[in-house]
């Protein structure tokens, strides 16, 4: 793994001397092992409804984190980039028979290209203005996707993917699809981790913290701001492709509305801006919390009995609980769950070593 200033203080044994394994290393190892054996031990539900979407959206969130967390440029168009990737990938695969790995790349590449275009305003504007510029991009991209006659299926707006197969590997079981998602996410996460801890990541952070000082150090605003948007869009595009091939099996703009973009933004804010781990923790929080709450509500109903409690009230209560929890965590740790974990890990290290 990359050397360098490690996000969330990953393995730093050198400092501690000896063979002390920091909590992070242990946790990372554990997660990787669990993730690898997941299909063997976990139910369909876990793979299809929890792990796959969380990994995919975590990837998209990580992409957004590069542009927003590291380079400090707010973007509200991440969902639209996912949509571009989704359509590009499914069309490449379904209509032109491009092999899936390449189709995913196509999705990422096209989305990245558009990302660069969308990123250009960032050379002139910042903050809320940029936020709205990217918001506009979100709407315009989705609108174009709706307008262009994509589908060979005439009057349908949704593109279903044909059976998913890579060469002779037939991805018809959930496990197969999970492994595809897992390997792609792992690969891109490693790549991105190296990137953000390299001179490029430092250049982004420098621009974020003091753009003039950065440019005096020889960092080109043009190149690195656009690069940030490019990477963000690329990751979103690949994630979009994964959505089609491994999760919903269909590309449709309705799944990439603005609220999804806001959810992804929420993931990195809750999870931690400028943190790889945070991107995924945030995805867990934003995606799984509502499910968890609805489970709790479901239990409640079965407990009290259907007739005694208005299902509508419970359904709406979910919104309130979710909002309260979001606020709670923001207040508890404005720097995000990643920071929370870091505290916890170092506290544990201190206790252990």
């Amino acid at each position: 793994m990359a050397s360098g200033s490690a996000p969330e203080s990953l393995a730093q044994p050198a400092q501690r001397g000896g063979v002390f394994l920091s909590t992070n290393v242990i946790a990372l190892g554990a997660i990787l092992i669990l993730a690898a054996v997941a299909p063997a031990v976990l139910s369909e539900y876990w793979l299809k409804a929890i792990l796959i979407p969380t990994l995919i959206f975590g990837l998209a969130a990580f992409g957004l984190n590069m542009v927003t967390g590291y380079a400090g440029l707010i973007s509200m168009g991440q969902a639209a980039f996912m949509a571009v990737g989704a359509f590009a990938a499914v069309i490449a695969y379904g209509r032109f028979g491009v092999p899936i790995p390449l189709a995913l790349l196509c999705g990422g590449a096209l989305s990245a290209l558009i990302g660069v275009i969308v990123g250009t305003p960032s050379l002139r504007i910042k903050g809320l203005y940029l936020m709205v510029a990217t918001l506009a991009a979100q709407f315009i991209i989705i609108w174009i996707l709706q307008r262009v006659p994509w589908t060979g299926t005439g009057s349908f707006a949704t593109l279903n993917t044909p059976p998913v197969r890579i060469a002779s590997w037939n991805l018809d079981t959930t496990a197969d699809r999970y492994y595809l998602v897992f390997s792609v996410v792992l690969l891109l996460t490693l790549f991105g981790y190296n990137l953000v801890t390299s001179r490029i990541g430092r250049a982004w952070m420098a621009l974020r913290d003091h753009d003039i000082a950065a440019s005096v150090m020889g960092i080109s605003m043009l190149r690195y701001k656009l690069l940030a948007f490019l990477m963000a869009a690329f990751y979103a595009g690949v994630a979009g492709g994964l959505v089609v091939f491994c999760w919903t099996g269909a590309a449709s703009v309705q799944e990439y509305e603005l609220e999804i973009s806001i959810e992804i933004l929420g993931m990195i804010i809750i999870g931690g801006l400028g943190s790889v781990l945070g991107s995924y923790l945030g995805a867990v929080f934003i995606l799984l919390l509502p499910i968890l709450i609805s489970f709790a509500m479901q239990q409640l109903t079965t407990l009290i009995g259907h007739s005694n409690v208005s299902a509508a009230v419970l359904a709406n209560a979910e919104h309130i609980v979710f909002g309260v929890l979001v606020l709670y965590f923001l207040v508890k740790e404005p720097h995000g769950l990643a920071r929370l974990w870091k505290r916890f890990a170092s506290w544990l290290d201190a206790k252990r070593g």
Partner: protein, 295 residues
């Protein structure tokens, strides 16, 4: 009918619609001026206010329910200040933005629990028949809405120019720290700003309710306000009105003249396209203060 009349009709429709957007946008401007935060909850507030007005109308009548709702929104303002701003004071803009997202979620849940999800009609008794000027049709409803919007803006401009709180708000917008030093109570002023935003939410809610009914989807109207903000300049009250009209007009004319050639539906993105153009060529908007680089 002649293209000219047609254009004029589109224009008037558009401008009036635009003024309705301005009403929503005003709420954003207020919060932004007071705390340079983008308040995602403005849409939810509009919904909340409208539902409250409709819900209370049968018991209190329009005037009564309006007054009651004002009270409700003031309470909401204080709550917002307590659970969003006070705890998050000093956190990054994005963090506070996320806070408002959470707050919006709470409001939407509460609104639907209290008032239910059933759509409601909210009809101000203004005749629906349009006024006829020769061939030209102008809706009385729209005229009324425009008037209300005008009044609100006038009041707000006056408020910012002439009242202590208004001046305090501007001071805080310019430099919160300094403002505190000269003894402006941030919390109080923020609460007031939210209360005002609430009041605007009521007006917007009622006007939109009268136009499209009161219903959950109302909170989505807020999105149309964002381009208005950019064009008008995020911190300019007067700008928002002009910008609203521009957006409305652009939408209508775009739909009417461009849309015909590319299969319609242009209206939905026109606002954002115009906003993008402004961002490219006049980032600080029509009346916004442009910031100067300092090393």
């Amino acid at each position: 009918m002649g293209d000219l009349i047609y254009a004029i009709e589109l224009l008037t429709t558009g401008v009036f619609t635009g003024l309705m957007y301005s009403m929503v946008a005003l709420g954003f401007v207020l919060i932004f001026k007071a705390s340079s935060v983008f308040n995602y909850a403005q849409g939810a507030m509009t919904l909340f206010a409208a539902l409250t007005v409709v819900g209370l109308m049968p018991h209190l009548g329009l005037a009564g329910s309006l007054l009651a709702t004002v009270a409700v929104m003031c309470v909401m303002a204080v709550v917002a200040e307590r659970i969003v701003f006070r705890p998050l004071m000093g956190a990054s803009q994005l963090t506070i933005f996320m806070g408002t997202v959470g707050f919006a979620s709470i409001l939407e849940g509460a609104a639907q629990i209290v008032w239910g999800t059933k759509p409601q009609g909210l009809k101000l008794d203004i005749p629906v028949e349009p006024l006829k000027f020769g061939e030209l049709l102008v809706s009385r409803q729209d005229l009324f809405a425009a008037a209300v919007a005008g009044v609100f803006v006038g009041a707000l401009v006056w408020f910012f120019r002439n009242t202590r709180t208004g001046l305090a708000l501007r001071a805080i917008a310019d430099d919160p720290a300094a403002a505190q030093v000269v003894g402006i109570k941030l919390r109080r002023v923020w609460a007031i700003a939210w209360a005002l935003a609430g009041a605007i939410a009521i007006a917007a809610g009622v006007l939109w309710g009268n136009r499209i009914g009161v219903h959950f989807a109302m909170s989505l109207i807020a999105l149309k306000a964002l381009p208005v903000l950019i064009i008008g300049g995020i911190d300019s009250v007067a700008g928002v009105i002009v910008a609203g009209m521009i957006v409305g007009a652009a939408e209508a004319l775009g739909e009417g003249f461009i849309g015909t050639y590319i299969g319609g539906g242009v209206q939905d993105v026109m606002a954002y396209i115009v906003a993008l153009l402004f961002l490219m060529f006049r980032p600080s908007g029509l009346f916004g203060q442009s910031t100067i680089l300092r090393v």
